[in-house]
Every structure is written in structure tokens, then in C-alpha cells.
């Protein structure tokens, strides 16, 4: 009972301190609103405004029609260049695609021959190169088919594919970017808040003050965890309802309370990480440098930016120990695919056990830190 009262009172103190730090509050607010919004509206892994150059050696109606088939927003209006400029534009990186339409293109098509069109692609632009090549192939084939047989579409195979893209039918980046940014912010802000709260106490000498009072170290740590987790939870709730559903207009498929519950469990691990860094770092700048080294792998290798299955097996295995990996897959399941608790329970279980281990480790280190 006394213990609970201590945790409660110390937590209230944390909230008051945070309220006093207006700069930090504004920072938290911006992170969960403006930054989430920006990331959502920027979302740019798909083909967008890809720069194309064309060497038109045919100069016929068909070649011009093919050139015109490159459409916004996927491609920029193609630039016409000379044959000897191909290497230069690709070397400079000003164009990702260079198409060469050979002389006699239209004549040979009319004859019924199969004509080759050369397409040079700067393959260092991974994102645009592959997707763009598919688009160009389908644009050009369609355009040529229409030229021969007006009104016809693409070439016919006996078996056609009917694509159904689940969960994000138009493959909109907005859906993806916004939610992933929210996940990043939940992790980042909770680590910063708890770690900074600990370091602030040490820099001001107040931590010693607490240590000579009849308080136990887990009470001090638990108070920091609940108070900062509460702030992040409130911010995350507002962010997912107001910014993601409202402002960005992302249709959330699953249950938001379930997502928030997952976030709460995730916060156990991240606040513990905050305490861990806070005990290791002696000063705020050291804390900042360590934070960068820890947050980047947590964020980049969690599967939230690029697909996990493409990473080396070793990296995938190591990242199973990181809470973010499970949180990302849980959040994607709930928010995009409408998964329920029957689907995401393994992630919840993983998060809980990781959280317990992290919290325990942080507590041990925190105790040792206080007594040293």
C-alpha cells in the first residue's frame, strides 16, 4: 500500500516536472502531430515523377505516341536527347530511364515484325528502376497494340490475372508512412522522456535526495515508467485518431483500443531502455549519442521501413529480441489488416516477455547505478 502510494506520488511529481518543461512538451506534441503528418503525406517509395529521356531516331506518329504514353504522376514529361548523350545523362544521374526508339520503328511494326526498343535503366535507383521498368513495358506494349488495332487493350493471354491488393487497394504511401512514423515516435519519445527524466534528476542532484528517503529503487523507476508512458499513450491516442484517421484520412482497419493496448505493453520495454541508457550515460550529450546508436537499428531493422524477409537471416534473428520488431508487426496487423487478438496474440506475448526482461535488467542496473 505504502509502495503504491509512493509510486503514485512520485509519478505525479514526474508529470508536474514535465509540465514545467514547455520546450519538451512542444517537442512531443510536434512529434506526434506534424512529423507524423509529414511522413504520411510524403510517403515516397513508389514511382513518382521518374525522369525519362528518349532518343527518338524514328520521328514518326507511333514513336511520338509512345513518348506521350509516359504519364504523370509516375513519370515526368520525357526529355528528348541525342544518342551520344545517353551515357552523360545516366552518369550525371539526371535521368533514371533512357529509351531508344530505333529508326524504322513504325515501318517495321506495320510490317508485322517484332521490333526491339532499348531501355537503359540506372539500376542504382533501386526503388524506381524495377517498378518503373514494369510500367514502361506495359505502357509501350499497350500503345503499340492500340496503334495496330485501335480500341484494343493489352495483348491477350488465355489466362488473365485478376489482381486484388488487400488492405491498401491503391497501394497508397500515405497509409504506410503515417502509421510507421507513429510507431517510430512512440518508441523514440518514450525512450527520450524516461531517459532524460533520469538524467535530469541526476544532474540536479535530486536523485540522491530520493535515495535517502524511505523509498525503494523500483518505486522510483516504476513512477518514471507510468508517468512517461501515460504521456506517450495520450499523445499516441490523439495521433492515431486525430492525425492518422482524421487529418490523413487513413481508413484504419482494426480495433484502435487493441492497438493502444499493444502500444502500452511495448512502452514497458522502451521506457526500460530509456532507464538503461540513462544509467549508462553520464551526461545529456552522451545520452544523445547513445540514443542515436540505439534508436536507428531499432527503427530501421524492425521491418517498419523495409521488409524483414529481405534482411540477412542473422539480422532477422537478432532483431527478434527487439521490441520494435514485434510492435511493428502487431501494428501493421491491426491497423492495416484489421487483425484481432486471435491473430496478434503471439506478438503480444513476445512484447510482454521482452518487456519483462528489459524491465528487470533496467531495474538491476538502476539499483547498481544508484548504489555506486
Amino acid at each position: 500500500m505504502k509502495s503504491l502510494a509512493n509510486i503514485w506520488n512520485l509519478g505525479l511529481k514526474e508529470l508536474r516536472s514535465l509540465w514545467g518543461d514547455k520546450v519538451l512538451l512542444v517537442f512531443v506534441l510536434l512529434a506526434f502531430t506534424l512529423i507524423v503528418y509529414t511522413a504520411g503525406s510524403a510517403g515516397s517509395m513508389e514511382l513518382n515523377n521518374a525522369p525519362v529521356a528518349v532518343v527518338d531516331e524514328d520521328q514518326t506518329t507511333l514513336s511520338r505516341r509512345v513518348i506521350q504514353s509516359f504519364q504523370q504522376p509516375w513519370f515526368l514529361k520525357p526529355d528528348l536527347i541525342q544518342y551520344d548523350q545517353i551515357d552523360a545523362v545516366l552518369d550525371r544521374g539526371s535521368h533514371t530511364f533512357v529509351m531508344v526508339i530505333p529508326e524504322g520503328f513504325e515501318r517495321d511494326v506495320r510490317k508485322g515484325d517484332v521490333v526491339s526498343v532499348q531501355l537503359n535503366i540506372d539500376a542504382t535507383r533501386m526503388t524506381q528502376a524495377f517498378i518503373g521498368a514494369n510500367y514502361i513495358q506495359s505502357f509501350v506494349t499497350t500503345e503499340v497494340a492500340r496503334f495496330i488495332e485501335p480500341g484494343s487493350g493489352s495483348t491477350e493471354l488465355p489466362v488473365s490475372l485478376v489482381n486484388r491488393v488487400s488492405f491498401n487497394p491503391n497501394l497508397e504511401g500515405t497509409w504506410f508512412g503515417g502509421v510507421m512514423e507513429l510507431i517510430t515516435e512512440v518508441t523514440l519519445i518514450s525512450i527520450i522522456l524516461t531517459g532524460a527524466a533520469l538524467i535530469r534528476e541526476r544532474e540536479h542532484g535530486t536523485i540522491e535526495h530520493l535515495m535517502v528517503m524511505p523509498l525503494r529503487s523500483y518505486e522510483i523507476m516504476a513512477a518514471k515508467v507510468w508517468a512517461n508512458a501515460l504521456v506517450v499513450m495520450i499523445a499516441a491516442t490523439l495521433s492515431v485518431t486525430v492525425v492518422i484517421q482524421g487529418w490523413l484520412g487513413v481508413p484504419v482497419a482494426g480495433s484502435i483500443p487493441l492497438f493502444l493496448f499493444g502500444a502500452l505493453i511495448h512502452l514497458f520495454s522502451t521506457t526500460a531502455i530509456g532507464i538503461l541508457i540513462g544509467t549508462v550515460a553520464r551526461t545529456m550529450p552522451q545520452f544523445g549519442l547513445l540514443l542515436i546508436l540505439i534508436i536507428l537499428p531499432l527503427q530501421l531493422l524492425s521491418g517498419g521501413i523495409t521488409p524483414r524477409e529481405s534482411m540477412p537471416q542473422l539480422v532477422q534473428d537478432i532483431m527478434l529480441l527487439a521490441p520494435t520488431t514485434h510492435f511493428v508487426s502487431l501494428a501493421q496487423g491491426i491497423l492495416y489488416r484489421g487483425a484481432g487478438i486471435n491473430v496478434v496474440w503471439p506478438e503480444l506475448l513476445a512484447l510482454t516477455s521482452i518487456g519483462a526482461v528489459f524491465f528487470g535488467t533496467a531495474l538491476v542496473l538502476f539499483r547498481r547505478h544508484l548504489s555506486a
Binding site: I131, T141, G173, H209, G288, L289, S310, R337, A339
Partner: protein, 912 residues
Amino acid sequence: MTDQVARLEGVSHVYGECQALTDISIEMPAGCMVGLIGPDGAGKSTLLGLIAGARKLQAGSVEVLGGDIGRQQFRNRLAPRIAYMPQGLGGNLYHTLTVDENIGFFADLFGLTGERRKQQINRLLEATGLLPFRDRPAGKLSGGMKQKLGLCCALIHRPDLLILDEPTTGVDPLSRARFWDLIDRIRAQQSGMSVLVATAYMEEAERYDWLAAMDDGAILATGSPDELRERTSTRTLDEAFIVLSSGKGPDKAGNEKEAEPPLTAAETRETGTIPAIEANHLTLRFGDFTAVKDVSFSISRGEIFGFLGSNGCGKTTTMKMLTGLLPPSEGDVSLFGKPLDAKDLGTRQRVGYMSQGFSLYGELTVRQNLELHARLFHLPEEQIAVRVDDLAAEFGLAEVLDQLASHLPLGVRQRLSLAVAVVHRPDLLILDEPTSGVDPGARNQFWSLLFRLSREDGVTIFISTHFMNEGERCDRISLMHAGEVLASDKPEVLIRRAGEQTLEGAFMRTLEAATGTDDIGSGAMLTDEHENEPDYRWFSVRRLWAYGHREARELIRDPIRMAFAFIGSALLMLILGYGITLDVEDLSFAVLDQDQSPQSRDYVTAFSGSRYFIERPPIADMAELEQRMRSGELSLALVIPPGYGRDLKRGQDTEIGVWVDGAMPFRGETIKGYVEGIHYSYFKELVKRTYGTIPTLSRVSIEVRYRYNQDFRSLDAMVPAVIPILLIFIPSILMALGIVREKELGSITNLYVTPVTRLEFLLGKQIPYIVFSMISYVSLVMLAVWVFEVPLKGGLWALSLGALLYIIVTTGLGQVISAFASTQIAALAATAIITLLPTVQFSGLTEPVSSQEGVGAIIGQFWPATWFLQVSRGVFTKGLSFSDLQPTLLNLAAFMPVLTLISVILLKKQGR
């Protein structure tokens, strides 16, 4: 030569909302020792800073050595004639540098060379007794030695005016006395030199020629010490100051003195009871450093026991052992007869602790602080309000109850700290330097409170202080030095035993007996007999080099920053290299085969045989498909309709359903592409197998040539892009921290008051970071080639030149950012955000700059990473050489002068 060393007229100074100086007009006589006296926050440091030219004049005029300090030109000529030692122990020193390196740095700044430089350094070290310690880092010197080193650094260039800001605060009395002897000697050797000193010790001020008493940013009185005492009819300067600051008559001050309880309670205390604290042979070692050595004492209940000693002598460490904060290496502590158990919460209920410096929550109000502590000590809820009101009344806090603690004056804050320490009515109070920096009047009030607690409530008080006159008020004291207790008894006994008049004298005698005279130094000349040739040139390679050399040394001795520079960039390269991989492979798929014919199975093998897809167990029905897609297990599901094989044979049109997980749009897009490709080539192959010919499905065939990266390996594309990210991120952060660190630690003062120019300062500090970053560039290239096996196709020299230019630019960027940040954490956050966002979004990392629109496109053009990215990708993947990249390299080089110019303009040669 004018008669005044400094003349101030109508000078005011504000920091934000805080008025530090209000309309000060004063003339200070030349050629003598001028003292500024007053408590912390009186405005002494601000005033000295203005006179030294270290702070920017806001209002009024200041004339120093006959010229207007407000003029930049005059300040430049004045710098070699002034020496300024800022507040704090070793405030202008670099703590990781040795004694020799510190002095050498200043010698370089003031243009000493060759034999004269060596002689002057040796002479100063010998005269101050620092010669045996010349290889010791400044941070490991004792307080007194640090101050002597600071003085050496200040005297390297024979100044006409020496400005010392609280040079002896926190230094033991013996070192203090020796410091002043040293100053006297310098003055005797160099007649005509003026010395300007601020101090919080009134006893010291007795030896100055002329005093200005300050409080609340105003001058209370000026004159010689005798004049001040006469005017206030008091015996000591301490009392004189109380009278001056309160504006009360001398009688009143005398009464307050009388009101103190007599110091007889110690005799009347009960004997035979268990002592409140007993310490037996306490020793604490940190590594091979012994902080506290064999300390024993016993304190009876109701006694006021004092620990006297300088900063760093082990007072605080001993107190921490008594509270259980630090476990002793040897020895034991008993509280109230029971051995101290750090885990026993019951003991903590009986102890109140006040740590050194203000350690309450400044962001809470007085009332909230009191209530919080009352609750944490579990006072019954109904008593809390009463207790808070009682304490507020008793400690004179009633009027400030709802103010934030951080807004209170120091004296009031210390009363609040004491109130908090006694909120749970402890039997024992442990107070660590509670009155440091508090003015004499407030100190008297504080002691009245202590006496009341001790005499009326029977609280045992264990207090530490470096004020000798406070030691005299204790029942018993221990004199501490270098971790050892030298003597312990009643103050009057100690004084008598030493045959001295005052406690200060007694302490000095004891110290002398204990430490000997090893660091006194010889009577050698301190100052150079030659007149210096001041170096007024606007640019000096030597000064630039002095800064560069020093910064490099500091960097090498800071493990965390070094680790971040090298391990950090390598680690981040590995993470980013694997993390931003865009290969979409090993995608899991499953089939809902409603046909189960040989034809349908044949179709599926086209997918399972592909390197992009991995087959999972088949799907039974639509509900299962839905569920497995939802869990994220499957990225792709194929639905083959009933009768597929039959329809295919008959040549009837049929459809295959493809379900793609679109949660990650980029991946979804790629899967669609793969599926279409496999589908198309499968049927081409099928037709060929069946009819032996390839059908003409389209009149146009597109020959795709993937240039530069034929294998389409993501690493080959990403690794050359990661290098520019890391080389903007880490160098700019380290550079910005390097400059802001100086601001935070106070050594930026050396830029303000020495002849070094802004350009020398910036370039000098930049060079080590450029060298470090180039080393890290080399390690990144080696990682790329050997670990990631990315071939380096083009010219290595072009890449390295590009990297060098780029690093100069990115460190320059860090310098620009550092102009806006005043704390290291702000510099860190600002640099991280400012460098990462444009680099990742607008520099062409994923989308070429030519695809960008609006603001992004403009930022992209004016962002250095855009250009170096072209160099890095060009050399690594496109095999470009120097001649191909010339225009890009020129673009990159164009950033250098611009950024340096901006930094020079933004950097201030004066503080605020």
C-alpha cells in the same frame, strides 16, 4: 596613464528577465588591489566580465585602461594587456590537458616562441610550485593548484590589468593564503599592475586596498576596508556588509548577533546515551584513488558537529557514506547504536539530508515540494497541510509558498531545502555545505534555525562548510584535508592548541604541519622582464594551430566521442546497409487450388521455383486465406478457379486470382511486378513446350539494360548512398558539440579575452574533426569494399577528394548550427534533425533530385549531400573518374567559403 583603471557610467545588464546590474556608475583606482564583495548573484561576475570585454555591453559605457571597451578595435588592442580568470575552479582551463599543455596553449595564443616561451613557462611553474606536477591533467589537480595554474595561464603575457573572479572560493585556507602571497609577490615585481578581484570571503577583502560592496546588481558603498567599517561602526567587514545590505542601523545588526543562543548546550547534553552517529575507520577508495582515509568520529545527540575543509577534501564523500548513498570500502557506521543498513527504510525515516547545492525540484512550487516530501515520508494525510503551514511559518516561507522553487533567491532556497529535510521531524540532520554562496545576512538567519532545531528540538546536526566563521559556531569540528581528519575537537580548544587567535589561523597551522611545503614554489620572478610584442595581426597560423592542437588532444582523451566517431559510423553503416535494403525476396506465398489438376500444379511450380517466392502450406478455403493474409504470414496468395485445367485445354478464357498484401506499398508494387513477369513467361514457355514456337504476343519487345548494377543488388546501390549520410551526420554533430561544449564549460571565455580571432578559432577547431572524419571515411570505404563487397569501379582519388571537400563542408555546417545552440543537448538534437531530414528526403537518396517538386527541389539543390551523393554513386557504381566529376566537385567546394563566412559572422567574440 589615467588614475582610474576602469570607469563605468550608467551600466545596466539583463539576462532574459533577470536584471543583473542596474545603472552602475563607478570609478576604480589604478595601480592597486580593487575588491568587489557581495553574495552570489550580486552582479560581481557580470561587472568583471564587462570590464574584461568578455561580455557584451548592453547599456552605459565602460572605459578600461583609458579606452572605450565598447569598441571592437580597442578591445583587440586591449586583449594582450588584460588577463582574466573566470569564476569556478579552473574555469578557463582544459581539464583533460596536462599542466604543461594548458600553459603551452596560452603561450601560443599570446605569440610566445622558442627559448622565451620555454623560459617563461618554466619560470611560472617554478614560482608557483607546479613544476613537479607539470604532466598531471588539470582536472586532477587540487582546487588550490588549479587556481595557481589558472594564474600561470593568465600571467603568461605580462598584463597591465589582472582580473580575478572569485579565485579562492572553495579552496582551503592555506592554499588561499599562499595564493594571495603569490599575488602580492607579482605586484611587488611588476609595479603599476592593477588587480581586480571579486570574492565572497569577507576576511580576504580585509587585505585589499579599495572595495566596492555590491548587492542585487547595485553598488552599496565604496572605499577602503577601514572606511567601510568606520562608516557602519562595525568591527568586521562581514557585519559591515550586513548593515550595508539591509540598510538597518548598526544596533539592529548587533542585536541579531546577540540573539544567537549561547554555545553551552554541548556541555549540558546528556552523557552516557548512545551516540547519534558513530563512524569507525571509514575509508573509501575509487580505483587507486583514496577519497576518504580512516575517518572516525562519534557525535552525541543534540550536538552540532562541523566538518571543515576545502572542496574535494572528502567532506561530501564522508557524508554520503553516512547516509548510505556510498558503501565504504572499509570501516563501519552506526546510526543510533545500530549498524547502518542502506536498505533499512526505517533508519531513513529518522534522518534528514540536504545535499550540496540546491537539489529540490525547481519546477515545483514551494508548497508542492513540501507536500511531496511529506507524502513520501508518509505523514498522515490530514496532518500534511498543518505541517506545511507550520514549516512555512517557522522557516519564513509563507509569502513564497506558491512560487516555483527555481525562482527563489539562493538564501530562501536553502531555507526551503532545510524545511524539506526536517519535514518528517528527523532526529539527525546531515547538511552538506548548506550555506555555500549565501550572503552573510541570510547565513546568520540559517544558523539561527539550526540552533533552534538543535537546542529546542534536540536534533543532532552534522554539517560541512568551508567558511571558518561557521566552524566557530559548531559545538565540535573536524578539520579535513585530502581525505583525512587532521584534528577534531571544540573550536576554542583547537584555536588554543595551535596558539592562534582565529580558527582560520589554527586550520592553517594544522595544514602546514600536515602537508609540508612541497608546492609553495620558489621566490623566482613571475613575470617576464621583457615587454611583450603584442601580436595584433588579424590572422596568425600559430594561434590557429594552438586551437587545432588542443582540440585534437581533447578529442583523443574523450572515449565516448571517439567511440562515436569511429565505432558509431561503422556500426551505423552496417545497420543502414542492411536496413535500407530494397531487395524484395523470399516472399511467402500460398495457393488456394480449387482445381487440383496437373495444369494447376504446373502453374504453381512457376512460382515456387522462383527465387523471389517461398511456398507455404496450401490454403483450404477463402476464410483461411483471409486469416493468413491478415496475420501477415502470407504476402501473396494465388486462387486457381475450379476447371482451370479443363478451360486451359479447351482454350477458354479463365482467370487466376492474385491477392497481394498492400500494407507496405513499395513491397506490394514489387510483388505485382514479379507476379506479372512470372505469369507472362510461364505462358510463353507453355506455348513453346506445346507448339514448339514462340507466339508473337506483342509487336514490340523491350530490351531492358540495367546499367551500373546488373545484378540489381540493393547493397551496391545503397552502400554508396550511406557514406554521404554518415559523413554529414557524425562530423557535423561532433563539430557542433565541440564548439557548444566550450560555451557550456566556460572555456569559450578564452575566445573572448585573448587575441585569437574568430576565423582562427573556427578553422583551428575544424581541422582535427576533418582529420578524424577522413579516417572514418577510409574505414567506411574499406567496410563497403570488403564487408559489403561493393565494387569500387571508378577513381579512388576523385572519391577521396570529394570526401575531403564534403567533410569540410559538413563540419562547417556543424559550426553554423553551433552558433544557435547554447547547450550540448540542443546542439545534438538540432544537428541531428537538420542534417538527417534533407539528406534522406531531398538529396536524391531514393528519388532523384530531378523528380522533386517545390521546396524539396530547392533544398536539394542547395544541400551538400546532393553533390557528394553524385560523387559517391558515380565513383562506386558508374565507374566515373576525376574529369567526369569536375563540375560536381566544384559545386561542392563552393559551399566551403559560404559556410565559413556565415559561421564567422554568427560567432560572437563576446558573451552575453
